[in-house]
Symmetry: C2
Subunit: 443 residues, 2 copies
């Protein structure tokens, strides 16, 4: 009995060890996947490590340390706090921290001076009053939406520095030296963070936003290109839900608003880089994003009919099949081309042939509905469902057209490149500028 | 000419002054509105000011200051950084900061000790190596989604403290005292912030989430209750867009996902309070929220028909009017009652009479569609539009039912109160417990 108990314990502890080991392996695999999914994460971690190590040199080298002393720790603190994944976020935090520290340190020193005028008795009371009033006002300012969007961190740092300087001044008479030290070390820390972030494999949040908007269009395009085949080939009792799962990528577009807003806010901090200028039209990106999301709402409604358990009979579906497939796939192609030219930062031709084709198909579909849909002998409810799919497709054309207009406006505001079609020089025209006619489409 | 120029300048400067004054007035009014919209903002600002002033006492009183010295500044820093609007956010940050500082300080001291073993030459190299490795690993950990959701701030503080302690140790031999000071002052700061946040007019983020979910249901209910009248009374060329603007409140529900996720994450930090226990089923709130949002997507589609410029002729609309109005308003009532009982934290009766009524109306509507819709002599396209509205109403019934089920599950998981209907004592039954039958519905 005792031996069996012992065995049992051994098995138990072996099981415990194995489970623990399993968890560690799982954690390791998860970390590996995180790194593989986006190797820039590893680069970012190394960049932060580098920046912190650089700044900690202030402690190791005698001449540097003599200048700052223990205040050098503010530089380390600043690097850790300011360094973010993207350039926009890092510059935003860095500028906020530097400006806020500068202004708050000056005001803090002023408050300290003012308080000392009132003698040793009144000084702590006056300082406490200043701190109370300043903290209350600045905290309230953080509720102002425009402030919150861009200067929230700055207000926090302002609050912090003002309190720190004015209160420490009561004990440390060298309050001005302290204000300077804090400001200088914070500037060193912020600049180190920003420099490492910008000059070593930078991740521009503007580019991220640019790509996300294009990716979202592609997600819608994938659904629309696949919808026709899926919907009209689905028989009444097939496992259509599984089959259509490859089309469900558009779902993430439904809830992308807040991430796009944040990105646009941070992108405004970024200097010009590559073909993104300083005043790139980020607001127009948000407009394209909003229209894309509205289109995603229509697709969500369309997807309902695709994944519904009670499918319309095939013979009712077939009434609208021809033009519907054309509309869906042409809108998909239009969106895909818009996304492609956005990625390449080129202007796409303003007259989109795909939208024109889908409009023609829509006219055809309207005729079909008027002429034959209601005359069919099937269940009226099925006919209505069929018609509802058609109506949604009409709406998707409108949406696609709106997206296309907004994307064109964006292309011109952002000075995307013109793409001239490849023209082979024709003999008759080759008088003056013949050879120049050979223009290849730039990638 | 000169005089006219002078006049012009005067007018200009007066204009400048007036414009400046106008801006100041506008800013003041905006601040006033911010305070009036949510007076808790003013209370919060005063609370932060109070907490900072309390902690700054560490500097003013001799005995307190003798214990901490300038390290007391960490307490001020901590209060400003930790104090957030809601209890959940404040406790989350406070715990993160305290735990991370404790662990990182211990490890930092250990790293310093280990480095000193290698002599004065090797020490800075070893410390730099430790800092590099630690910063890299911890920064990478911040990418783990589960970590990011709850412990992001803790990882930041860990990074900060470890670097600070191990690096400063190179210059300041009293590294252990420094570690203790930092830990102690940060604990004082965190506890002050949490105490002021919890004990003076606390804002519980759990309650905020609870109310937002109920408000969102009410927004949908408002649309549905108003839809019937609006849609069927809108004639083809009235300014229907303006009229329906009062129904557009549901739009905010479409994009509420990220704010709900954040709130649920922070609510898990909150201790039990009032009728919210520590392990309140926050995840179930998110489920109700998701279903509400899905219903909002249907309503968005319905709203399209309401605000469309090309309205279906009145005589086509009138075919489906009767049952449609019933479905819409009964679903609206069902949602409104769910929202009300959620606000009161009571269990609503599991058999919802409004959903039953709307289902009956749906059967009626199906019969109408089958029997007469397609036999109408109007434009088939209008008939299809009419039918599409009916289909959306059917989907809204399904959605409402799902929301109702999820809300009931929430009510039982969260131990909402039972509401027994008011029963007047009947003579025949009044033997043993007659008087107890008089139960009033608790508010």
């Amino acid at each position: 009995m005792a031996s069996s108990n012992n065995d049992h314990d051994q098995v138990k502890s072996a099981g415990l060890f194995e489970r623990l080991w399993g968890k560690i392996v799982k954690f390791g695999l998860m970390l590996k996947k995180l790194g593989q999914d986006d190797p820039r994460r590893i680069v970012h971690s190394l960049k932060v490590a580098l920046a912190v190590t650089l700044v900690s040199m202030l402690f190791y080298f005698e001449p540097l340390y003599d200048g700052f002393g223990l205040a050098a720790m503010w530089a380390i603190l600043t690097v850790v706090i300011v360094f973010e994944f993207t350039v926009g976020a890092t510059i935003g935090r860095g500028l906020n921290r530097m400006m806020a520290t500068l202004v708050a340190a000056a005001l803090g020193i002023g408050a300290h001076r003012l308080a000392t005028l009132s003698g040793k008795q009144g000084e702590p009371i006056l300082i406490a009053l200043f701190v109370f009033v300043e903290a209350g006002i600045v905290t309230f300012f953080r509720f102002i939406p425009q402030m919150k969007a861009r200067y929230d961190f700055g207000l926090l740092v302002f609050n912090l520095t003002f309190c720190l300087i004015s209160v420490s001044g009561y004990r440390d008479d060298e309050v001005i030296r302290m204000g300077f030290e804090r400001t200088n070390t914070i500037i060193i820390g912020s600049c180190t963070a920003v420099a490492v972030c910008v000059f070593i494999r930078p991740v521009w949040i503007g580019v991220e936003l640019h790509n996300q908007i294009a990716t979202n269009m592609e997600k819608l395009a994938n659904f629309l290109e696949g919808f026709g085949d899926e919907y009209f080939s689905v028989s009444e009792n097939s496992q259509n839900r599984d089959k259509s799962s490859s089309l469900q990528g558009y779902k993430s577009v439904l809830t992308s608003k807040s991430s796009e807003d944040t990105m646009a806010n941070l992108a405004r901090w970024e200097p010009g880089h590559g073909r993104f200028r300083f005043r790139h039209p980020w607001k127009q990106y948000l407009k394209v994003g909003t229209l894309t999301r509205q289109c995603a709402f229509k697709i969500e409604a369309l997807n309902n009919y695709l994944t519904s358990e009670t499918q319309t009979p095939q013979d009712v579906k077939s009434i609208i099949q021809g033009p519907s497939v054309v509309i869906s796939s042409e809108c998909g192609k239009a969106l895909k081309e818009l996304a492609t030219s956005m990625r390449k930062m080129t202007k796409s031709p303003s007259k989109d042939p795909h939208i024109a084709k889908s409009k023609d198909a829509a006219e055809e579909l309207k005729t079909v509905i008027r002429s034959s849909l209601c005359k069919h002998q099937d269940d009226s409810l099925d006919i209505i469902k069929d018609g509802a799919v058609a109506l949604l497709l009409f709406e998707i054309i409108t949406c696609t057209e709106k997206i296309s207009e907004a994307a064109h406006k964006l292309a011109s505001q952002a000075h995307f490149k013109d793409v001239k079609p490849r023209v082979t020089p024709v003999q008759e025209n080759s008088g003056n500028d013949g050879p120049h006619h050979v223009i290849t489409i730039e990638g």
